[in-house]
Symmetry: C2
């Protein structure tokens, strides 16, 4: 094997940690949910004794002991004589909103389904989805998910996309396209946001019936029905061409919901519908462009959610792969903007000029 | 918080890794189960291209891509141009038998039940056990667990205890007690092993009916029924005293199945049954005595299994806690031997002399 920087002992430690990671995840989550990490944060460098914690938090000595010892193993806390002190890792685990949104997504949305991860890979289907319902993909069943699952799914989705679509909107505003086709516009969150920024923009949201019905309500509430309309379509239906005469076709965190062959089909439809002077943009997070290892890690991990729960065949692709897919579909990238929001890339493309 | 050695960036990385650990665990497991890590091990420092791996392993490009990128995030593999190379961590994950036994235990035994970990803590009951059956503790239902679950449970149990009980037996052989009471003797594995080593030893196994019935079969098969007998008893039944006239009361990885109050009750019963010249020994792994951090980590993690699946109230205790519990029960430690096997401690005790 390749000689890399960590020692054999550290490597063995990491391998063993991984082998018991699910139990430890649940331990970390309990340390968070029972307020133990937050209490220790308030106690600062002095920390607290387990007796004090039992008293203040109303937890049994057993609960504290089993959790704090697990926390010691994970490096969330340290023991100093009879006191327990929060570590830096514990501090981030207690306070970082990205940790919280990931943890909830891991637990409520992915945990039980990912038991069927290997089966999903082998069958090429999101077998874990059966935990929640009898659908082919999560997109079909999204609005029928159990309430908490849906809530955590949306929180996760919006956490990662909100920041980036705000910034991507600023870029689009400079281009000021008049007619925008928002493919995979979902609940209309971006379309409403953008229509409020550009009072002249006209937007068409194209998505599956469930999402479109949700979007229509929100557009109506926002008083934007005269400038945002919706179109129900299964984008993978080869017989249904995309509508024409749009200046800009916008796909934000949409194509990662599809396998490569499907993306090829979608880009082909976009190519057929787009004018020679039109633009297509793709907003996606690419693990191979991230500045921080942890950001790549999150994308690589969440890709596994697509396998076992979303559709069995998609993932977050690398920028290298996007370059290839965009080129193969007859487009050229005229601008590539990174980073937007929490590390997204905006690929702005036109048809290849002959 | 305490200033410790890792940087804020590393701490944040660790916190984020933890937040998505269950998905990554499943990714690592798939890399193992589909033979990808093993294949890369054979390819050595040169590694292999994804094309070659697809061809040799019969896996789709998607399966390889999503798994190898997750493996990159976990540090199991590295990418070098178009080749994928196993790292040291990947090597240990692929080859270490302890990793395999932990991974199987994590997946087959603990994964689904530990979804109810927080609930188990709050209710003081192993709520995760409902995944498999309607029992108060796993010990009641052990022999009725689904076949694969039981197989992985036993493999885990024996992996950790076999090495240590062999070595502990050598120590006992030097003492040569004639009559041994093996409390929590389970399937009789240790008793049979020991009776074969010492042809004069007479052993009584005391355990719950399910285990004893299993033990009786094995003792019979080993032709040792004349020297090993069994006694069915719920050790927690206050009205049933322990039998008397034993030279040695042996408890190997038994007391960790109980909460502190229960241990106090059991040790009290042992105290009442033991002669003034008799010995009691306790064989347990103590997380605070391990030489390697990874060994402590494993014990701290497996403690969480006791919470959500075994009984809701026990764990692997520290040596510090054993000292306290042993003393409080009226015993004194005459010898403390560490490490045995994979890091167990043998506490040899007598009644406190006035």
């Amino acid at each position: 094997m390749k000689k890399n920087k960590i020692s054999a002992l550290e490597a063995k430690e990491k391998a063993l940690e991984l082998s018991l990671a699910p139990l430890m995840f649940q331990g970390a989550r309990a340390l968070f949910e029972l307020g133990i990490l937050d209490f220790l944060k308030k106690m600062g460098d002095e920390g607290a004794s387990q007796d004090l914690m039992a008293q203040k938090l109303g937890l049994s000595p057993y609960v504290l002991e089993v959790l704090l010892e697990a926390g010691l193993g994970m490096g969330l806390v340290e023991f100093k004589e009879d006191r327990v002190i929060l570590t830096k890792t514990g501090y981030f685990f207690a306070t970082d909103p990205m940790v919280k949104v990931n943890m909830d997504f891991s637990h409520y949305v992915c945990y039980l389904p990912s038991y069927s991860f290997l089966e999903s890979l082998i069958n090429g289907k999101p077998e874990g989805l059966r935990t929640f319902g009898n659908w082919e993909t999560i997109y079909e069943g999204l609005w029928s998910l159990p309430e908490t699952v849906l809530e955590k799914w949306l929180a996760f989705d919006h956490f990662y996309s909100d920041a980036s679509f705000n910034e991507a909107s600023e870029i689009l505003l400079q281009k000021r396209p008049k007619k925008i086709l928002d493919i995979g516009g979902n609940t209309g969150k971006w379309a409403i946001h953008y229509a409020q920024k550009d009072p002249e923009a006209e937007i068409t949201i194209l998505d599956l019936p469930g999402a479109v019905e949700e979007a229509e309500k929100r557009i109506d509430d926002a008083g934007l029905s005269h400038r945002i309309n919706c179109m129900k379509m299964n984008i993978l239906d080869k017989d249904q061409p995309l509508p024409k005469d749009y200046d800009w076709i916008w796909m934000s965190q949409f194509l990662d919901c599809f396998g490569e062959e499907e993306i090829s089909l979608i880009l082909d439809k976009v190519h057929k519908s787009l004018d020679q002077n039109g633009y297509m943009s793709i907003l996606e997070p690419c693990w191979d462009q991230q500045k921080f290892k942890a950001a790549s890690y999150c994308l690589q991990a969440v890709s596994l959610y697509f396998t076992c729960l979303a559709n069995g065949k998609s993932k977050f692709y690398s920028s290298r792969k996007w370059h290839k897919m965009i080129k193969n579909a007859g487009f050229q990238i005229v601008e590539e903007i990174f980073p937007l929001g929490l590390g997204h890339t905006l690929f702005i493309c036109t048809k290849q000029k002959d």
